[in-house]
Symmetry: C2
Subunit: 417 residues, 2 copies
């Protein structure tokens, strides 16, 4: 790359304004965003993104699972595209930056290259993947999962939310049931920039996280069934209390992750108690277990330990346990060359950086199964995400988008002016 190109940076102010404009759709009083996948608000956000892409001269296509592809032509159209992307659906109490930063950063890269009249060899694409959060419709990373052929299209369109509405029906309702085939598209490389969603970069004063991979995850649904009975006249020793068992499982998941150490995480985020009446001993509890680790064998051991504890707890508390795996992602290491491009760009721009493992899965985790991929992290305030208070510094976001641009140009090749 020429010396002039080596110090390129994006327009940070324009990036910030686009993020804030997008964040108005589904804005919550606490400063966050509630824009669940395939709701009316998600449709509004999608339409705004498409308008911006078209205004930037990008060619937009929607695929059968609602993924949005916006392409900037390269000199050589037969080369597979170098892609940037993330997601614009949010958690129920989400923030303005999770996912949206990666999509707006990709758009900002396109706008900057237009401003500078830079032509690439390979085409470039920025993508907004459908339903990365998996909050309304499990599983997470739905759009990218279908794109790589890991999740079947028909079965995914048939997934329903807790009210029985299907992905397919909701996609059509918001006008994003596209015609471009979901699978079979070559990818040259994929880069995704994202807020860290953890406290490490901020704690260490780093601007850029060179992401070397993502944690493996195992999710389970657990149903504990005891006996509903009256809280007063039922002697303590005769109870089969499903909530007492559930409480013991919450403690056990936490303890197992702490005992495992390293990158181990164990979380219960979801629980429904039946009948959930103040003076009735709960007869049934449904809950979700979320286990994560960096080494595959450690993740397996953590899952085995939790499975064993669930069985012991059920036996001891006099309830039955039904434990069902619902998601299983192995730990993933990103392509060394992509990682190197990101590291080199941070070096070249003089930004404090460190290698880091992503605790969360991202669309990049799936795309990495079919193409060289990499990720770029920037700090977020107090490491908070999946929280309306989620926040990031404009300068950090601009730095991440600039690194994204450099990595993309290194892979796509710049046509000499």
């Amino acid at each position: 790359m020429s010396h002039a190109l080596s110090n390129l940076s994006v327009d940070g102010g324009r990036l910030w304004r686009s993020l804030m404009d997008l964040a108005e759709i589904g804005a919550t009083p606490k400063g966050g965003v509630a824009r669940l996948a395939l709701t009316e608000l998600d449709g509004e956000g999608r339409r705004l993104f498409v308008r911006w892409c078209e205004a930037a001269g990008l060619e937009v296509e929607i695929d059968e699972i609602g993924n949005i592809f916006a392409r900037r032509a390269g000199k050589n159209p037969s080369l597979p595209p170098v892609m940037m992307g993330s997601h614009i659906d949010t958690q129920p109490t989400g923030g303005k930056f999770d996912g949206c930063f990666g999509v707006m950063a990709g758009l900002e890269v396109m706008r900057t290259l237009n401003d500078l009249g830079i032509e690439t060899e390979a085409p470039l694409e920025v993508i907004a993947w459908t339903n990365e959060e998996g909050s309304r419709f499990p599983p997470c990373m739905m759009g990218s999962g279908v794109f790589i052929g890991k999740l079947g299209l028909a079965e995914t369109l048939a997934k329903t939310d807790e009210h029985g509405l299907s992905v397919g029906a909701e996609l059509a309702r918001i006008g994003f049931a596209g015609t471009r085939k979901a699978t079979g598209h070559p990818v040259g490389a994929y880069f995704e920039t994202h807020i860290e969603q953890g406290p490490v970069l901020e704690d260490e004063g780093k601007t850029i996280g060179v992401v070397i991979g993502t944690l493996g995850q195992k999710w389970f649904d657990l149903t504990l069934t005891g006996v509903e009975a009256h809280a007063g006249p039922t002697p303590m020793r005769r109870r089969k209390d499903a909530l007492l068992a559930a409480a013991r499982v919450v403690e056990a998941v936490n303890a197992a992750a702490l005992a495992s150490g390293g990158h181990a995480c164990g979380t219960v985020g979801y629980m429904r108690i039946h009948p959930n009446s103040r003076n009735v001993i709960p007869g049934r509890v449904e809950m979700g277990l979320d286990l994560r680790h960096w080494e595959a064998e450690n993740l397996d051991a953590l899952a085995a330990a939790v499975t064993a504890r669930v069985a012991e707890i059920a036996e001891r508390t006099g309830v039955t346990a039904e434990l069902t795996p619902t998601a299983d992602f192995p730990p993933l290491s990103f392509d060394p060359e992509c990682v190197a491009f990101v590291r080199a760009a941070a070096e070249r721009l003089g930004l404090p950086h460190r290698d880091i493992v992503s605790g969360a899965g991202h669309d990049a985790t799936f795309i990495a199964e079919v193409a060289p991929a990499g990720m770029i992290f920037v700090p977020c305030e107090n490491g908070i995400s999946h929280n309306e208070a989620e926040n990031a510094e404009p300068e950090h976001l601009a730095a991440g988008a600039s690194i994204l641009m450099h990595a993309v140009l290194a892979r796509a090749g710049v046509v000499a002016a």
Copy 2:
């Protein structure tokens, strides 16, 4: 009482049929009843009861809190009435007998006395008290609480359910906002028959429980507030997990009750997790604590122990705790003469019986604060209540209603034919 009267019994078949007819209103597929206070179905049940009372020649009045009074005249109208009663509202997943048995038993007593042409000195009343369960609108024993002046009428009419609907508005909507003043009515005595809702009578092969009193209860609402964050990238040791704290409180309530021993009960039946998303560390949990004991000092000690544990748990787990008392009923001993009438009737009819303490509060618990009162228990299958599978033997129910009749006649006095 004359020899002929001493062996009187009610019509058990008619009692059973009335119970089954009432149970059709709000019947659930699992054989239970969902007829929450002041819903349309509650209105339907109330109207059926009023029709039956009028058909039995009883004079019906509705008071300002919706309590239904059905009076059978006595020879001496200036004597305060001898009352029978219970409630016909149910738990969300309730049974056919809880509360309904006591109301139908009182109606069956009236019908039997009519059949036999028996006149009493004092008037008799059978009452259906409003909202005994406190499930939709806390607190429990609402109608009887207002009747004795313990709960203020205006503030009680203003209580709302989780959707913001008020007691007053719902009473009016179902047509039971009555005009009889809620307070200031003398009571001669009060008797209530009820299923035990526990396993003791069935275990010991007794037909009648001579209830000597009800356990004291202390209820609390507890809100635990931590920090919502992403389940993946948030290191275990940096979390402020409100659900982990809640789980520790559930365990602590159970342990404190077991340690206290005797009649101690500790239950968490209600819990709401926020945001309740599978990969988000919960930032807030609301829960209900239900503590019970027979000795006042032991109940105080149990509450103090739990309160201390809540503070320790909050500190240790890095969350804040807001613990609010929501109900406080001291242990109550029933009037010795009323208890003696019940015991004597069981003896006279040759029914296996034992003294017993009620684990649950009942409307009788409140009425006992203003007048001599007693209760009669009958066994229920496996001690199960607050459960759609709740069941009782027709013979046991008939026995309880017959004891009720004998106790009432002993207090009201029979006019010699």
